[in-house]
C-alpha cells in the first residue's frame, strides 16, 4: 500500500473523508456527493492491487465513526459496492468516462440504498426521495474526479 507513493492514495481518501463531514447548510447538505465512494472507485479501477474490498471496509468504518451511525453500516455498504467494481474492473475500465459515470451512478444508488435498508432495519426511518439526491451529484462529479485523480496518479507515478 505504501510502496511507489502509495501514501498519496491514503491522502486522497483522508481528504474525501473530510469532505464528507464538512459542515454545510441543510439544503445543500442533501446533495452532498459520496466523496469516499467516488475516490475509492477510482483507485479500485486504476490500481486494484492496492485498493480492495478490505480498504473499502476500513474507510466505511471510519465514516461510521465520523458520522456517528451504528458501527458497520457504512462499512458494509461500502464493501459491497466496491466488491462489484473489483470483480468487473477490467470491463469498466474500457468504458468511456460518460458510460463510467452511469455505472458510478448505479453503484452510488446501491450504496445509498444499502445504507437506507440497514438503517430501516435498525431504526424505523422512512424513505424520503432526498436520500437519493447524492446519486445525481455523484454522477456529475465522476468525470472531474476521474480526470483529477488520473493526473495525480501520473504525476506521482503511483503504481
Amino acid at each position: 500500500m505504501f510502496s511507489n507513493n502509495g501514501y498519496i492514495i491514503i491522502l486522497t481518501l483522508l481528504i474525501a473523508l473530510m469532505a464528507s463531514i464538512t459542515p454545510m447548510p441543510m439544503s445543500v447538505g442533501d446533495f452532498r456527493p459520496d466523496w469516499v465512494l467516488i475516490v475509492l472507485l477510482y483507485w479500485c479501477l486504476a490500481l486494484p492491487n492496492k485498493v480492495n474490498v478490505i480498504t473499502a471496509w476500513v474507510m466505511g468504518f471510519i465514516l461510521d465513526v465520523l458520522l456517528g451511525s451504528v458501527l458497520g453500516v457504512h462499512a458494509c455498504a461500502m464493501a459491497l459496492s466496491i466488491y462489484i467494481v473489483v470483480v468487473n474492473f477490467q470491463k469498466i475500465r474500457n468504458f468511456s468516462v460518460w458510460q463510467q459515470a452511469l455505472i458510478v451512478g448505479v453503484l452510488s444508488a446501491l450504496y445509498n440504498l444499502i445504507v437506507f435498508w440497514l438503517q430501516r432495519f435498525l431504526t424505523d426511518v422512512v424513505f424520503l426521495p432526498s436520500y437519493l439526491y447524492p446519486v445525481i451529484t455523484t454522477i456529475v462529479l465522476w468525470p472531474w474526479v476521474f480526470l483529477l485523480l488520473r493526473r495525480v496518479r501520473r504525476h506521482f507515478h503511483i503504481k
Binding site: 463531514i21 464538512t22 454545510m24 456517528g68 458501527l71 466488491y83 431504526t123
Partner: protein, 291 residues
C-alpha cells in the same frame, strides 16, 4: 507489471470477511451496545479530522466576525446594554421569587431544586448522515462532559450528549428519530412525551387522547420526569392538533423552539450540584426526623 493475479485471497473471500465483520459490529453496537467506551476512544482518534474539516467554516466565521463596521458594533453594543438592563430588572425579581419559592418548598418539606452548573460549548460540525440528527461539540471528557448531559441553546432544549470523547463529544438532537423527551404543557401541566420524527422541525406526540386539553400554540416544557432533563426548560410549541375520531388517538405535532438548523453555541447543564444539594437536604431531614 504488478502481480495482480497472484494474490493470496480472492475478492469474494475478502467480501465475506468484510460482511461478517460488519454484521458482528452492527449486532454488538446496536443490540448489545458494547462499544460505548470504545466509541469514546474512536471519537477522540478521529477528532483531528473533524477539527480540520471544520477549519474552512471556522475561518469564514472568524473573517465575518472581524470584518464588521464601526456603526454596526456601536449599534450592537447599544442593543446589548438595553438587553442587559432588562435582564437585570428581571433578575432582581427572580431572586425575590426564588427565595420565596425556596421558603414555600421548605414549608412543604419538599426538596429545594438546586442550581445547575453550566458549561459553554461551540458546535464543531453538523455531520452529513441523513438518518440521524447529531452534532459534534468542542467539549469532551477533559472538560467534565458526561453521557446523557442535557444540552440547550438560548431558546430551549437542543438534545443530550450521546458519546463522549477526550476533547469533543457528540450530541443527539431531540428531533432524532430515536430520541424522546418527557414534557408537559406549560399552560395546564398535562404530561406528554415528545418523540423525534427525523424531520428537523417536527416532534410527534403519541398516545394523546382526543379529550386532552391541548391547542396549537401551547408551549411544551420539560417535565423533569426521568431525571435526565431538569424541569421547566422550553422544548417545543404545538403547531397541529388533529382530533379525528376514527383514529384511536389524536395527532399532535410540535416544532422545537431551539433553532436546530442554525446552532452555533450551546450550553451544557450539569446537575451534580443539584443532586448534592437535594441529597444534603434529605440527609438533614433524616437527621431532623431522628431528633
Amino acid at each position: 507489471m504488478n502481480p495482480i493475479f497472484n494474490q493470496g485471497t480472492t475478492p469474494a473471500q475478502r467480501l465475506f470477511l468484510a460482511l461478517a465483520c460488519s454484521a458482528a459490529l452492527i449486532f454488538f453496537d446496536h443490540k448489545m451496545a458494547v462499544f460505548e467506551s470504545t466509541r469514546g476512544y474512536l471519537q477522540s482518534l478521529v477528532s483531528p479530522l473533524q477539527y480540520m474539516a471544520n477549519a474552512p467554516k471556522q475561518m469564514l466565521s472568524w473573517a465575518s466576525d472581524n470584518l464588521v463596521i464601526r456603526q454596526q458594533l456601536i449599534k450592537e453594543n447599544q442593543d446589548f446594554r438595553e438587553n442587559e438592563l432588562f435582564f437585570h430588572e428581571q433578575l432582581m425579581q427572580l431572586n425575590i421569587v426564588r427565595r420565596e419559592n425556596e421558603r414555600l418548598r421548605s414549608l412543604l418539606s419538599s426538596p429545594v431544586s438546586g442550581k445547575n452548573t453550566k458549561m459553554f460549548a461551540e458546535i464543531l460540525s453538523v455531520d452529513g448522515d441523513r438518518y440521524s440528527h447529531q452534532v459534534v461539540i468542542n467539549r469532551g471528557a477533559q472538560d467534565g462532559v458526561y453521557d446523557g448531559q442535557p444540552v440547550l441553546d438560548e431558546k430551549g432544549i437542543v438534545g443530550q450528549i450521546l458519546h463522549v470523547g477526550v476533547s469533543s463529544s457528540r450530541v443527539i438532537l431531540i428531533s432524532d428519530i430515536t430520541h424522546a423527551i418527557p414534557v408537559r404543557i406549560q399552560r395546564n401541566g398535562l404530561r406528554l412525551i415528545a418523540s423525534g420524527s427525523g424531520k428537523i422541525d417536527r416532534l410527534t406526540h403519541d398516545f394523546v387522547p382526543h379529550s386532552a386539553d391541548i391547542k396549537p400554540g401551547d408551549l411544551l416544557v420539560t417535565s423533569g420526569l426521568g431525571g435526565k432533563f431538569p424541569e421547566g426548560y422550553p422544548v417545543s410549541r404545538v403547531v397541529l392538533v388533529r382530533t379525528d375520531e376514527s383514529r384511536e388517538f389524536a395527532i399532535v405535532y410540535s416544532k422545537p423552539v431551539a433553532q436546530m438548523d442554525r446552532l452555533r453555541y450551546v450550553l451544557l447543564l450539569s446537575k451534580e450540584k443539584a443532586a448534592e444539594s437535594s441529597f444534603s437536604l434529605k440527609s438533614q431531614q433524616a437527621k431532623a426526623g431522628k431528633q
